[in-house]
Symmetry: C2
Subunit: 386 residues, 2 copies
């Protein structure tokens, strides 16, 4: 009897991991992490001020090609502040993918704005520009420079694509839409450090971009994130807003607006500096892992391994299988069987409009996202796994 699709998938993953159990994504600390943490501790500057924060910001800017990087406490905080600086106001609508991690939608909510969910394309798993343009041409009326959702009467202020699993979204199409409808474009690049689109680093193509260094990301600072921007005034404002909006003074406490305690501690930045040094090796290893999976899955029918979109270079943060439509019913069995044998896998996130807090938010038709959510499975993706 030929083995079932879930069995074949378990075998294919096992052939790559060498039969060993495997987490979805583990960090690796084999560079200068230890040295820098010790140096940080010995300096006693472990908190919001210190040389590792400055260095991490400089290193991130140099690596991504952004003029500025502002380190913050996590990717959610980065997105929150980026949206505030983009001028997102209470009751504005912000276009975000229905298929994303909840942080994207939460950050919109923190601004008292309303996430407006749009569809994905199967090629990138990110926002589909063609579907979005058609949708916006239907629902948007212009009042001067402002785009108004004619169904809700609210201003549609910003567009926040997310580079899912590290695969760059079609930025050309989205930048055109942002221009056509006068939307601020902020890239949620939480998952795509190391990914480029036509040679430019993700997160540097819109007005601002945001990164995450959570423990499950390509590099980690324990918890951490950053805002990327080429706009010097915005970078300065980002630093100000994330450090309680305190006006510099030798001793006086003057705060000129509602600020946030979002600064990345120096201790976490020390880890980040070491991790960033090893990023090229991580990326090369993750690309090799993709190739190993590609070969392992080449002859299995009913499932395909997601590859980087044309014109883009992906960091392959999380490897993703996509079951054929006809095999969607096997998804739960695949998740169960793989996790049962210690090969950690997970499905796509529940679509945002399916979550109770966002059930009443506006949404475009979501045929592709609704299909993908039944068929996408992430498989073990750590660097140096294969």
């Amino acid at each position: 009897m030929p083995s079932s699709l879930p069995q074949q998938i378990v075998q294919a993953i096992s052939s790559v991991t060498g039969g060993k159990k495997a987490a979805l994504h583990e960090p690796r600390f084999q560079g200068n992490e230890w040295l820098y943490l010790k140096e940080c501790l010995d300096s006693t500057f472990v908190s919001s001020v210190g040389k590792f924060v400055d260095r991490f910001e400089a290193d991130l800017a140099a690596y991504t090609g952004a003029r500025h990087a502002v380190a913050v406490v996590n990717g959610t905080a980065a997105l929150h502040v980026a949206l505030l600086l983009a001028g997102v106001k209470p009751e504005d609508e912000v276009l975000v993918p229905a298929a994303t991690f909840v942080a994207t939608a939460n950050a919109v909510s923190y601004c008292n704005a309303i996430p407006h969910f749009v569809d994905s394309e199967a090629r990138t798993l990110g926002i589909d520009p063609r579907a979005l343009r058609e949708y916006l041409r239907d629902i948007i009326v212009r009042q001067g420079h402002i785009s108004i959702n004619r169904h809700t009467g609210r201003t549609v202020r910003a567009l926040v694509p997310m580079h899912v699993f590290g695969h760059p979204v079609d930025m050309e199409g989205l930048l055109e839409i942002a221009r056509e409808f006068n939307l601020v474009l902020i890239e949620d690049a939480a998952e795509s450090l190391g990914s480029t689109w036509h040679g430019k680093h993700t997160g540097t193509l819109g007005l601002m971009g945001t990164l995450s260094f959570n423990g499950n990301k390509t590099i980690t600072t324990g918890g951490g994130g950053a805002i990327l921007t080429n706009d010097t005034a915005l970078a300065k404002k980002a630093k100000h807003l994330t450090t309680t909006a305190k006006v510099p003074h030798r001793w006086a406490f003057e705060h000129d607006e509602i600020g946030y305690n979002y600064r990345l501690p120096n201790l976490n930045a020390a880890l980040g500096c070491a991790q960033l040094e090893t990023l090229p090796a991580f990326l090369a290893s993750k690309r090799r892992l993709h190739e190993a999976y590609r070969q392992a899955f080449a002859n299995i029918h009913g499932v395909s391994l997601l590859a980087e979109p044309e014109g883009a270079s992906s960091n392959y943060w999380l490897q993703a299988l996509i079951l054929d439509e006809t095999q969607a019913d096997a998804c739960e069995a695949v998740l169960t069987m793989t996790n049962d044998v210690g090969l950690m896998t997970r499905p796509l996130w529940n679509l945002m409009p399916h979550l109770p807090p966002f059930a009443r938010c506006p949404r475009a038709p979501l045929p592709v996202a609704e299909s993908l959510v039944r068929r996408v499975i992430n498989i073990p993706s750590s660097a140096f796994l294969a």
Copy 2:
């Protein structure tokens, strides 16, 4: 010619520091910090899950006597979540001291609520219960169980005293007021880890209390904070809200409300576990420093050193001088002269209603706070300074 008051103050501080320059408050890492950080790194669990987070929470609960401690990314986040869990709703008013660090008022704003500023007493530098009771009896009208500010028509929902520089506020008076006006009492104990009021740890007397482990605090985790509570259901909700409100599942992403990415990374918790072990030694040393300053300032006229209130034990986080009313004009000269010679000092925070973002918020008469802000000066306060 007798020396001026600023000169005498410089001499007195110098006599305690042994003529050496001194920061306002430096952390000290001479326990197991190094060991635990290495153990954390070697485990690869540096992020939101790990044994040091669990241990830090257990150790904090044991130390403070709170039934539960929930570790978070900083003290501001702790207060934000505590206010949300206390039922603070948009447009509610929350009573906070005019004399506090900006985080207290910011956290209220994050809930879309309005800080309502009240006066201090010179004895504790915290909220004055007698002045507050008199004020509330004037402005509050009751509608069933709800207290309404008759000037604004808004619900006054909560009372957030702050234990300034570690000196416990008069909790007996404030707990009575909370009962009389049906206010939720949340203690901002950001500065008072190690301080007790009639034998009970600050932050454990109200419904919830919040701690901070910023780099300038008595113990530090780089950045960090915690929510203390004796209410098991609230502790569970706090953990849920601070971990993106994710419903536990082997793989599915279900989030049942708007949550936050506020969990303390394991790396920072590792530092916290080691710091907490040395807290008793820090406290003893800071008490010795207070005694040294007391002797140094005993014969200087026009200035007094703030001592712990009767019935309370203070952690003496920051030592504070209070200039006599007649000497208030010397405050700027004292700050300049001390900082110029490398003895770091700072004034009280600008009062909250003096900051642009809070200028239009409601406030009680603030005669004591207005007087204190011209006369309070913090002087070098690190453990093991003297």
